[in-house]
Structure formats: structure tokens, C-alpha cells
């Protein structure tokens, strides 16, 4: 137990995010409206009957719904975590999402290609834009904010050119590629599964590989990374390429879930994604942060949205409350070093 506390104290940013999350979860359970009818729920191996009055928030159905709805933002947040760790930013993810969605939708609607090819092309389109971002940032040494602001505008325009400003509806009659695509990709477990698998892969990438270590080193001190012989330019290209690829995945998921590609997809998504990453304790100054943190940040945002929605809170009130929680979550990470171990009653850390 003491050892666990020690570890938690060393990762105090994560610990505090976790505390905020747990507090939010408990609050959500308490304030959630109760069921008016008893309801059966299948847990896979057994079926339980949840009684009347059981909090709606705390049902498997609701909890998996939350994950499914937010998987798109979650997938993009994985890449954004890497980008922000290098002290960069990627504003173009929402536009890349739309491009990938349009490309996937057009291939399925207008060709006889198998749906898996459409998925591959959608993700490929995102990857190409990401690589373009990375190459421009690494070679021109222009701030990522500016480059990705430009691609944010340009890629959205390009996507609308492809779709001719129209909604690309997927054919969904049984037996068509569109039907197969929607049935498989939009299913609850594929949506949630792709986020979980990608989160695990990226967590391992960041934690266990040379590349992940280099990403943190680059964001911590770019000059020192150069002096230590790190391939800094190639890393930047790789980081933005991966982010573009993930935005491509998000676009494919959007296309399947909405059963179409339309121009409202991905609008302002970059802000949601950045909020998730920042709430997860990743510093905009670079070098500090983790995938686990971003997953926690995602959970905080989505639980909050869900509980406000379940309670039928007005959208303006939701925005005000959301702002408060974001500030709270980020302020919690700023609690200074010595006070937390004291707070957790484990004595000062040895230096």
C-alpha cells in the first residue's frame, strides 16, 4: 500500500487527475437519475437485474455508450498526446477527420471496391496529410501552430471539393459494401475496441520504445535532444504522421457511425481533443504527459458530458460547468510538490 502511494506521489499529475476522475464518477452516480423500471443487463457470462431506482449512469449500457460516442475524440487524443509532448500542436485533426470520412464515403458509394479498401484509403489519406504537416514543420522550422492552422483550413476545403459540398450518403441496403462497412465498423465493440487497442498500442509505444523516449526528450529540451544526437527532424515527421493516421481512423469511424460523410464532421474537434490531452496532465510546454493521462482526461470529459446530458441540463449551463471542471482538473495538477505527499500522509519524498 505504502509503495503504491509512493508511486502515485511520483506521478502526482496523474494521481490528481485520477482523484478528479474518481470524485466525478462518484458524483455522477449520486446525481444520476434513477431507473423507473427494473432492467435486465447482460454482463456476458451472467445476467443481472438492476432494480428500480438504480442510477442510470451506472449501467453497462450507459457506460459503454459513453465510450462509443467518445471513441472518435479519444483516438485523435492519442496522437495529439505525442504532438503536445514534443511541445507542438496539431489544429488540423478535425479537417483530416472530414477528409478521411469523405474519401471512405466516396469509395464505398461510387466504387465496387471492398469496404476494407475504403477504410484503408481513408486512413491513408489522413496519414498523407499528417506526413505533410510533419515534413513542413521539420523542414521549414515554422511553428506547428501556423502550419497546422493552414492545413486545417486547406484540408477542409479539399474535403468539400471532393464531396462537392454535399453529404455523401452510404448505401445501406443489405448485401452492399456500405451495409457491411456500417454493420462491422459502427458496431459498439469495434468502435470501442479500436480505441482500446490503439490506446494500448500507443501507451506501449510511448512507454517502452526508443521512439517514445525520444519524443519525451525532444519535447523536454529540443536543443539538448539535438546535442545528444537524436534524429529530431525524422521524429517530428513521424509524430505528425501518426497523428494524421489516427485522425484518419477517427474519420473512418465517423463515416460509419453517421452512415455518411457530411461537412459538419470534425468541426472544432481539435479543441475537444486538445482539452482532453491537457486535462490529462500533458503540458503544452512539452516533455511531460502520458497516454494514460489522456485516457483519464477523456474519461473526465465524457463522464461529465454524460451526466449533464442524463440530467437534461441546458446546453449553456453545460458549457459553464464544463469550463469549471476543466479549470479544476488543470489546477489540481498545479498543486506544488511537497504538499501532496504530505496530503497523502506518506512523509516528504527523499531527494
Amino acid at each position: 500500500m505504502n509503495k503504491l502511494l509512493q508511486v502515485l506521489a511520483q506521478r502526482r499529475d496523474l494521481t490528481l487527475t485520477l482523484i478528479v476522475l474518481v470524485a466525478l464518477f462518484i458524483t455522477a452516480v449520486i446525481i444520476s437519475p434513477g431507473q423507473r423500471f427494473p432492467k435486465e443487463e447482460s454482463l456476458g457470462f451472467m445476467t443481472v437485474t438492476l432494480p428500480k431506482g438504480w442510477p442510470i449512469f451506472l449501467t453497462l449500457e450507459n457506460l459503454t455508450d459513453i465510450l462509443r460516442t467518445n471513441a472518435i475524440i479519444g483516438v485523435m487524443a492519442l496522437g495529439m498526446t505525442l504532438v503536445i509532448l514534443t511541445a507542438g500542436i496539431d489544429l488540423s485533426v478535425g479537417s483530416i477527420l472530414l477528409l478521411a470520412s469523405v474519401v471512405t464515403g466516396l469509395v464505398i458509394r461510387d466504387t465496387n471496391a471492398p469496404w476494407i479498401a475504403a477504410v484503408a484509403l481513408g486512413i491513408f489519406a489522413g496519414t498523407v496529410v499528417g506526413a505533410l504537416n510533419g515534413a513542413l514543420i521539420a523542414k521549414l522550422k515554422v511553428q506547428p501552430f501556423i502550419i497546422t492552422l493552414a492545413t486545417m483550413i486547406g484540408i477542409r476545403g479539399l474535403a468539400k471539393m471532393f464531396s462537392n459540398n454535399k453529404t455523401v450518403l452510404l448505401p445501406n441496403e443489405e448485401g452492399t459494401q456500405g451495409y457491411a462497412f456500417i454493420e462491422i465498423v459502427a458496431s459498439k465493440w469495434v468502435t470501442i475496441g479500436s480505441f482500446v487497442v490503439l490506446a494500448a498500442v500507443f501507451a506501449l509505444l510511448l512507454w517502452g520504445t526508443v521512439f517514445g523516449r525520444y519524443v519525451r526528450a525532444l519535447g523536454d529540451n529540443a536543443k539538448a535532444a539535438d546535442y545528444a544526437g537524436l534524429p529530431t527532424q525524422r521524429m517530428l515527421v513521424a509524430v505528425y504522421t501518426l497523428t494524421g493516421m489516427l485522425a484518419g481512423v477517427a474519420g473512418v469511424l465517423s463515416c460509419a457511425l453517421d452512415e455518411n460523410a457530411d461537412s459538419t464532421q470534425g468541426v472544432a474537434a481539435e479543441l475537444d481533443v486538445i482539452a482532453v490531452v491537457v486535462i490529462g496532465g500533458t503540458s503544452l510546454a512539452g516533455g511531460r504527459g502520458s497516454i494514460l493521462g489522456s485516457v483519464l482526461g477523456l474519461l473526465i470529459i465524457m463522464i461529465l458530458k454524460n451526466i449533464l446530458g442524463l440530467n437534461n441540463i441546458g446546453s449553456n449551463e453545460q458549457q459553464v460547468i464544463m469550463a469549471g471542471v476543466i479549470i479544476l482538473a488543470v489546477a489540481a495538477q498545479m498543486i506544488q510538490g511537497s504538499s501532496l505527499p504530505a496530503w497523502l500522509r506518506i512523509g516528504p519524498l527523499k531527494n
Partner: protein, 526 residues
């Protein structure tokens, strides 16, 4: 490649005649500022230890000392840029408190910083009038009156530039003049010049000195912080020497000579008896001939396996720049560099590292360490690919290698997982040294490896250097402390204004000789 120009320069440097005729002895007047018992501590480090100094109106007073002697600190302290820890300051016989620059300015004291504190995106006039922008009742800036104000100040130092020019567009020398004009516009009676010539061309230095002479004639006290001998004798009426934060003495420039000042700067109480044993071999590792880069004019010397070669010289003489050239950070524009018999010229640190060169940068915080990352992560950074099959970090291998090198460097850390920022300066430096020891390079360029490091860690670092030499590595070491160079190095190359001007064997030289080469005026090639 024979070192032809070394012989040509081995004669004693002659003193150049003063630029300005000294006026009547200013010390017969009442003193303008008298500081007594001044102490300044930064944490546990004593920068100034009971220093007494007096400045008179109408004198040019040089503050001299080696790097780290406390001369800059004293200048800044008088101008309120750093607060004193203890001591009294009297201005015209009145005891005053100078806690910040505003206090100092009210008393007519101002400072021209080495890194100019100008606003590059504002105009010359705005910079000069920055503390006095309201020329009228309305609260609006009156540009015309501001220009007149600026022109008056510029006129006093004879600088003919448009007050509307952006300061960032001016050459450095003119920027310096603008800073002086600003000081004058505030009716300064005492101006501290903090290493003002280090960024200037010779012509600009001449201009600056003219202006300083003129200011002196107007009765302004000019305090000139420098470590360049020739400047002292060209300009100063009196010289105060500091050493290790202590006051050594004040001399009239006309009554002293370079040899005496050098002796005062070094002192006689330095223990130079300790010497690291030599492991130098005859096998050449590095051969530099006529090296030129944007910062270096002409550098030539050899380093053999097992040899420790020191680079001495003033700040800005081009010592660290040799490392930058070797490590692919600065382009080589002329001359040749041979590493183990092969001509080299790296385009990036990555290439240099692969060829077996290691660079311990001068500023470990901005150029070396990732402060938020752990000690172990910092140590393993440069060798990570070697211990990571298929890109997956071998944590066991990482731990054992880092622990082993930590023992070699006698690194003290509560845990290898704590952030390197929580370590002391010495242990931070050992972490960084450990990173490069792990790469098993053949040539180590250590840029001031004991900078900001406590005594105990210094000894450890000396031992590491010796062990490296013993293993046949070639080491180049930059240091601002001459005793350190004499202790650690087999040979010492003296740098002066981008040139290597002397190649001295440890057994045949002494601090006086090194300092003389380092502080002599610009060298003319034979």
C-alpha cells in the same frame, strides 16, 4: 603542420599607449560613490566578500578579475540590478539604499549590460525615452517631442542615426551607443559598462572609447568591467582587481603594468602542486590545422590518444566553438580536421556521435539535460538504440549500464527514477558525463565540465577525466580556471579572439604566461 605563429608571438606583449590623456587626478575631489563591506551571496555561493571600492567623478575606473571573480556582480550591484546581501553604499557622503534599478537611476547611476536590455522592435527614440514616454498632458505619446529628446541624447555621443529606426535593425555597436544615449538622457553621473566591448568590432570599440573619454571629461564616473588588459591600459585611470569575490587592490593605471595586474588577478596562494599523471601516447587522435568557422579564425593543434589538452582563453575567445565545429554544430569553412587519420566535417551531432565524438556542452541545463526526465533516462539517452532490440527498450540492460556508469562517476541520487532537476549541480553534471561515457567515444570535448559544481564533485570529475585518459581516450577540456587546466591537462592551448595563439606544455608553463597570452590585444599573424 608546424605551429609557426606561436613562436612569433612568444615575446612579451607591449602596452599600447592610452587613447586619452588622463586629466587631473580625480581622486583629489570628493568621491561620488563609496561602497564598503559589500557582500553578495547566491544561496551558498559567495560572489562578493566584503569588498570596498570608491569611484570619483570624472574617472574611468576598470574592474578587473578572472572569470567568476565577482567584477560583473559588483557592477550590477552598484546599479541596483542585483541587491546586496550586506554592506553600505554612500553617494556624495550620504548613506543610500539601492535595492533596484529605479533606486539607482534616481541617484544617477545606470548600467549598460553586456546583453543589451533594449527593445528590438521599438524605435531608437522609443528606446531612449522608454521611461519617460509622456511628453504632454494628454497621456498620449508625442512622437515629435520624443524624437527631439532622443536626438539631443544621440547628439551628445555624436551618433547620427534616425530616431525612427528600429533598434533591432541597427548593428550591435550602434545598439550599444543607443543604450549609452539612454543612460545619458537620464542624467547619469555614474555609468557601469559591463563587458561592453565583447560583441564589438575594433572600430566600434574605438568609437565607444572616444565616447567614454568624452563622458569622463564631462565629469561622469565610468566604471568599466572588463578582463581585457589592453583595454585597461588604453582607457582606465584606475584599476580595481577582484579575485574570488574579494577585493585585492586598486592601482593607478599609469603606475602599474600588465605583469602586476596578472599577479593580482591570480594571487599567490593557489595550490598548483597537484597534477594528474599523464597517460599521453604518441598516437595522434585529432589533428586540427588552420580551422575556420564563422566564429573561429585560425586554430591548429593536435591531440593524441590518452592525452588531455586544455583550452584556455577569455570568454568569447572561441574555446567552446572548437567543440561546436568538431560536433557538427557549426559549419567548417576552412582548414582541416582529421580524426584518427580521416578527414572529417560533420553535418550534425548525430554524425559526429556515430564517428566517436562526444561533446559535453557548456550549459548543461539548456544544451544537455532533459530536466523533467529521470536520471536514468537522461543517462541512457545517447546509447538507447544500442540496448533496444527492434526499438523496444531493454530495461534490464539500461538499468545495469546506467548503474555501472553511475558508480564510475560516483553519482549520488536518491533513486535513478527521480527527475534530474532535483539533483545538485555536481550530480547533474555527472549524469550528463555518464551519458557520454556510455557512448564509449574516442574523443571527448568537455566544455567547462566543472562549471557550477561543488568541490567534491570537481575532484570526482578530475578523476573521471584521468580514467578516460588512462583508457586511451583523447580529451579536450575547456576551463575558465587556470589551476584546473594546469592540474588536469598535459598541454594547454591558449585561445585569443578565435585563434590558437600558444601551445604550452604543462611542465613548462605557469598561470602568468597563459593569462598573458589570453589577455593580450588582437594578435597579428606573423
Amino acid at each position: 603542420m608546424p605551429h609557426r605563429f606561436f613562436q612569433a608571438q612568444s615575446t612579451h606583449v607591449t602596452q599600447s599607449p592610452p587613447d586619452t590623456q588622463p586629466g587631473p587626478d580625480p581622486t583629489t575631489q570628493d568621491p561620488l560613490l563609496r561602497a564598503s563591506g559589500i557582500c553578495k551571496r547566491y544561496g551558498g555561493v559567495v560572489a562578493l566578500d566584503h569588498v570596498d571600492v570608491t569611484f570619483f567623478p570624472g574617472e574611468v575606473h576598470a574592474l578587473m578579475g578572472e572569470n567568476g571573480a565577482g567584477k560583473s556582480t559588483l557592477g550590477k550591484l552598484i546599479a541596483g540590478a542585483v541587491p546586496a546581501t550586506a554592506g553600505d553604499i554612500e553617494v556624495e557622503g550620504q548613506l543610500v539604499r539601492i535595492a533596484n534599478p529605479t533606486d539607482a537611476q534616481r541617484l544617477g547611476i545606470t548600467i549598460i549590460f553586456q546583453e543589451l536590455d533594449l527593445f528590438p522592435n521599438l524605435s531608437v527614440a522609443e528606446n531612449i525615452a522608454i521611461r519617460n514616454l509622456r511628453f504632454g498632458e494628454s497621456g498620449l505619446v508625442r512622437y515629435k517631442r520624443m524624437d527631439e529628446f532622443a536626438l539631443k541624447a544621440l547628439g551628445r555621443i555624436g551618433l547620427d542615426i534616425s530616431p525612427r529606426t528600429l533598434v533591432g535593425d541597427l548593428p550591435v555597436a550602434h545598439q550599444q551607443m543607443v543604450a549609452i544615449a539612454r543612460a545619458l538622457s537620464m542624467d547619469a553621473r555614474l555609468i557601469v559598462f559591463d563587458e561592453s566591448t565583447s560583441a564589438l568590432t575594433d572600430d566600434a570599440v574605438d568609437r565607444l572609447f572616444e565616447v567614454i573619454g568624452q563622458l569622463r571629461d564631462e565629469g561622469v564616473a565610468c566604471v568599466f568591467v572588463t578582463h581585457k588588459m589592453d583595454e585597461v591600459f588604453r582607457l582606465a585611470d584606475r584599476v580595481t582587481v577582484l579575485r574570488d569575490g574579494r577585493y585585492v587592490g586598486t592601482k593607478r593605471a599609469a603606475e602599474t603594468d600588465m605583469a602586476e595586474l596578472v599577479r593580482m588577478m591570480i594571487g599567490h596562494d593557489v595550490d598548483t602542486s597537484k597534477h594528474s599523471p599523464s597517460h599521453a601516447t604518441e598516437q595522434p587522435m585529432l589533428r586540427i590545422a588552420g580551422l575556420q568557422t564563422p566564429a573561429l579564425k585560425d586554430v591548429s593543434f593536435d591531440v593524441h590518444r590518452g592525452e588531455v589538452v586544455g583550452l584556455a582563453g577569455l570568454v568569447g575567445a572561441g574555446r567552446g566553438e572548437i567543440g561546436r565545429a568538431l560536433f557538427g554544430l557549426d559549419p567548417i569553412t576552412g582548414g582541416s580536421v582529421e580524426l584518427a587519420g580521416r578527414q572529417i566535417g560533420f553535418g550534425s551531432p548525430r554524425q559526429a556521435m556515430r564517428a566517436g565524438v562526444a561533446l559535453l556542452p557548456r550549459d548543461r541545463k539548456t544544451e544537455g539535460l532533459m530536466m523533467q526526465m529521470s536520471v536514468r533516462e537522461n543517462t541512457s539517452l545517447a546509447v538507447l538504440p544500442r540496448i533496444s532490440p527492434a526499438g523496444w527498450i531493454g530495461r534490464g540492460e539500461e538499468a545495469s549500464r546506467c548503474d555501472a556508469v553511475g558508480q564510475t562517476t560516483r553519482l549520488k541520487a536518491a533513486s535513478p527514477h527521480i527527475a534530474v532537476s532535483s539533483l545538485s549541480g555536481g550530480n547533474q553534471q555527472k549524469t550528463l558525463l555518464g551519458r557520454w561515457l556510455l557512448t564509449d567515444a574516442d574523443l571527448f570535448f568537455l566544455d567547462d565540465p566543472t562549471r557550477g559544481v561543488d568541490i567534491g564533485a570537481k575532484e570526482d570529475i578530475y578523476k573521471i577525466i584521468e580514467e578516460l585518459a588512462q583508457r586511451g581516450k583523447a580529451i579536450i577540456m575547456v576551463s575558465s580556471e587556470l589551476p584546473e587546466l594546469i592540474r588536469c591537462c598535459d598541454r594547454i592551448i591558449v585561445m585569443n579572439e578565435g585563434r590558437s595563439v600558444a601551445d604550452l606544455k604543462r611542465s613548462e608553463t605557469n598561470q602568468e604566461e597563459i593569462l598573458t597570452y589570453a589577455t593580450a590585444g588582437p594578435v597579428v599573424s606573423a
